[in-house]
Subunit: 466 residues, 2 copies
């Protein structure tokens, strides 16, 4: 097996140019799932990915949903193989690109440029998640090219709605348990410790995302003729949003912390030993010091503590110059990152109650949910975890750190719950990849090492007895 | 004189169709002064107005400014006339039209439709202020058509930046005192008491308008990876805006009320006697009860008490669906309506200090001023005031009420101060004209009576000894 892996890794090293070109083709699709205007491009992207998988021996199809299609493709591994099946989950959709004016190159025309860590590829989706999906796809391609098959059975499950709440994911998984049957799930949508140190994420925060509109007067009003005598929806919204936190930046939604537990001593100790540098993490985004829940470290604030942030707000006149108007309505996009133990439905209800109880007479509100999923924790002592660690050590020459992550991957919780298997979160992103921001990038080094790590992990999984 | 006036009023009554057609032509110009994209249309509107004035014996020109041009045109009255000169001030620019989707007809294609009070003309600027300027222009046209001249000397002074802060008005007036020399100023940019009852406004609130941008992280961030550990500019902005008012809706900017005085007993008594109906005023905009400074009537809240309202707010993702981002900045457009005694510069400084003192570490802010003018009070015992009352009584058969108004007309203060003359605020708008809102309208009855009132007032002014 060891010999087999080396030839695959050599093949990957030799094929960097081809790998980058194929990633550029993948990145050229404007697969923005949250904006209906891009639906045709989302579908075209899924079709392109499916065709590519077929080239390396996968059988699959696009599975329709109420929203964007799922790509599901299967490979049975070597002839007569009866070892574990790996379910690889990722997503081919991407975030919107605004503010477009801050991009240094067109978001859907990927460019490879030089950076402090060598070459990097810049485009929307470069790392979240097309580049990471490609690292796994290229690992399979290299196995197929060098040995005509894969070292284990693999099912690819790539969705197109992760960036817009994965509304159709749960029902699809529940309705397709046989199609998705596997022994372990691998997800590449998280980060490394640093460019030279791999990591496996064992904690992910959940998410509740809502859109709230507050309405007051039945029409926009002249602020001179009416100002001072009517409720101003923008001021009303601001005053309620302001009440969401106290002076210690603790969330004031009743019961918000009821099910939040302190870190297990073992994990807390592990995190304390991590070579973490607040100055570097915050300096990279122009901040001298952190700002969050009192008495918590930055790692706790982003990995193990819940949050409540506004993601967008709009109301009244937002054009150039001045308009003396009192708007009839104002809206806010609000989301809470949740930690293990918190019930998303309970938090969602708490948010709605919090706003309704504070609405002054004369105002009404409307709330729309855009995602509601719990935080997850992954077992860190399974044979699959050990196999992944071995594979990563092979690619990097050092053991991965077991870390937490502030982000959410809705699929992972459902996969654990519905398919009853472990999910290994092995990602190759870096904190400064500008995920969801202009000029999103993926270090070519991370892309290549990611592909080699997946190639090595596949061999380790294939070597496991059932 | 009386005979002369009657023929003019008859002429106006007979020319309604022509008057409405000319108003439609005036309303067809998209003269949105606050948006640089419309500058050519603003200028075209000024040129059209100047040409029209020349048709009725005015000599004038467009006077360039750093912004949009001023229309100034002069008529010396009858041969050998040596009575008072009337300076008529108005503006030919209009507010933006958003939200455009709420308009029932194109904002710049005026239509005359039936309403509860008879015909009304609907378009942006119908009443604010093109329709009111037209009511005066048509009065002059009717005098010119029936008697070949005007009953007194008139200088038309129509600016194009009233809706965007009148940045160039003060310097222009200061630099052109001879050009604008007159004995009394008449302004038609205010409202009537009701459709059958004229009013002269003797109090106008001032205005301070600012645009504030709060900046935090140096770029947009993924709310999962950074949420909880960094200052969120939207939440920061909301928390500061929320602190602008206390539970009694009193503005919390230090010193805000220092120079605010209670109403003179005489005025308070006059207002108490006004047949005012809170239910009607608020019901028309979908509200059951008022909302404002505790212990104040709606009239006080809108005429004699200062305010602090958000006119617009924007930050982060405001498109369809969800985007899990923490924005790097958020902005608010904020304005205070001021009353007699308050110093705009002092309030402006207070607003900036209020925000700066509450900015958390890691955040910066930028403030831009879009207008800063004091409230004004007009003498209600001058011979010109009496002449105006007589003219209005002639057109309406009843005396006008002397009222206050919550709106601001920057020009009036400067005209009083720099030209040393009274300003008579005689307007013909109604509270439900949807000023600054979609489907802005002007009652045809108000337009016609306005023109007849101006025609009669011109005669009264001409009859005054110097």
């Amino acid at each position: 097996m060891s010999m087999q892996v080396d030839t695959v890794l050599d093949r990957l090293r030799a094929d960097e140019a081809g790998m980058l070109q194929r990633l550029k083709d993948f990145l050229a699709f404007e697969s923005i799932s949250t904006d209906p205007a891009y639906a045709p491009r989302v579908r075209a992207c899924a079709q392109w990915l499916l065709e590519d998988l077929r080239k390396m021996g996968f059988n699959g199809a696009l599975h329709e949903t109420a929203g964007h299609p799922m790509v599901v493709a299967s490979h049975d591994g070597p002839p007569g193989y009866d070892g574990p099946r790996v379910l690889f989950y990722g997503h081919y959709d991407v975030q919107p690109v605004d503010p477009i004016e801050l991009w240094e190159s067109p978001p859907f025309a990927a460019v490879v440029v030089d950076g402090p860590r060598g070459k990097r590829i810049v485009a929307r989706g470069a790392v979240d998640d097309k580049g990471q999906v490609a690292s796994f796809v290229e690992a399979c391609r290299a196995w197929h090219a060098t040995h005509g098959t894969l070292p284990c059975a693999v099912t690819m499950f790539i969705e197109g709605e992760e960036e817009s709440g994965s509304a159709n994911l749960d029902p699809f998984i529940k309705a397709n348990k046989d199609l998705l049957k596997a022994d372990v799930c691998v997800v590449s949508d998280t980060g490394m410790w640093d460019v030279d140190t791999p990591a496996i994420t064992t904690m992910l925060r959940g998410l509740v995302y809502v859109d709230i509109t507050v309405r007051g007067p039945s029409r926009d009003l002249h602020s001179g003729l009416y100002g001072g005598a009517v409720p101003n929806p923008i001021n009303v919204l601001a005053s309620i949003v302001a009440q969401l936190h106290d002076g210690d930046r603790r969330v004031q939604i009743p019961g918000f912390y009821d099910d939040v537990h302190e870190l297990p001593a073992r994990v807390a100790a592990m995190w304390k030993d991590l070579p973490w540098d607040d100055g570097e993490f915050l300096g990279e985004i122009g901040l001298a010091k952190g700002f969050g829940e009192s008495g918590r470290s930055t790692l706790e604030r982003t990995w193990s503590r819940p949050t409540c942030d506004c993601n967008g707000i709009v109301g009244g006149y937002t054009g150039a110059g001045a308009k003396t108007v009192i708007a009839s309505q104002a809206s806010v996009k609000l989301s809470c990152r949740l930690v293990a133990g918190q019930d998303p439905k309970k938090i969602l209800a708490g948010i709605e109650r919090f706003f309704r109880e504070r609405l002054p007479a004369g105002c009404t509100m409307e709330l729309h949910e855009h995602g509601c999923n719990p935080a997850i924790m992954v077992r860190d002592d399974s044979p699959y975890m050990k196999a992944a660690e071995t594979g990563l050590r092979r690619a990097y020459g050092k053991a991965p750190y077991l870390i937490g992550s502030g982000g959410s991957i809705p699929a992972v919780g459902t996969i654990q719950r519905e398919l009853g298997i472990d999910a290994l979160l092995v990602g190759f992103g870096l904190d400064d990849d500008r995920v969801h921001s202009p000029n999103e990038k993926f270090e070519v080094k991370c892309f290549m090492n990611g592909a080699m790590s997946h190639a090595a992990m596949l061999a380790e999984f294939g070597a496991l007895r059932r």
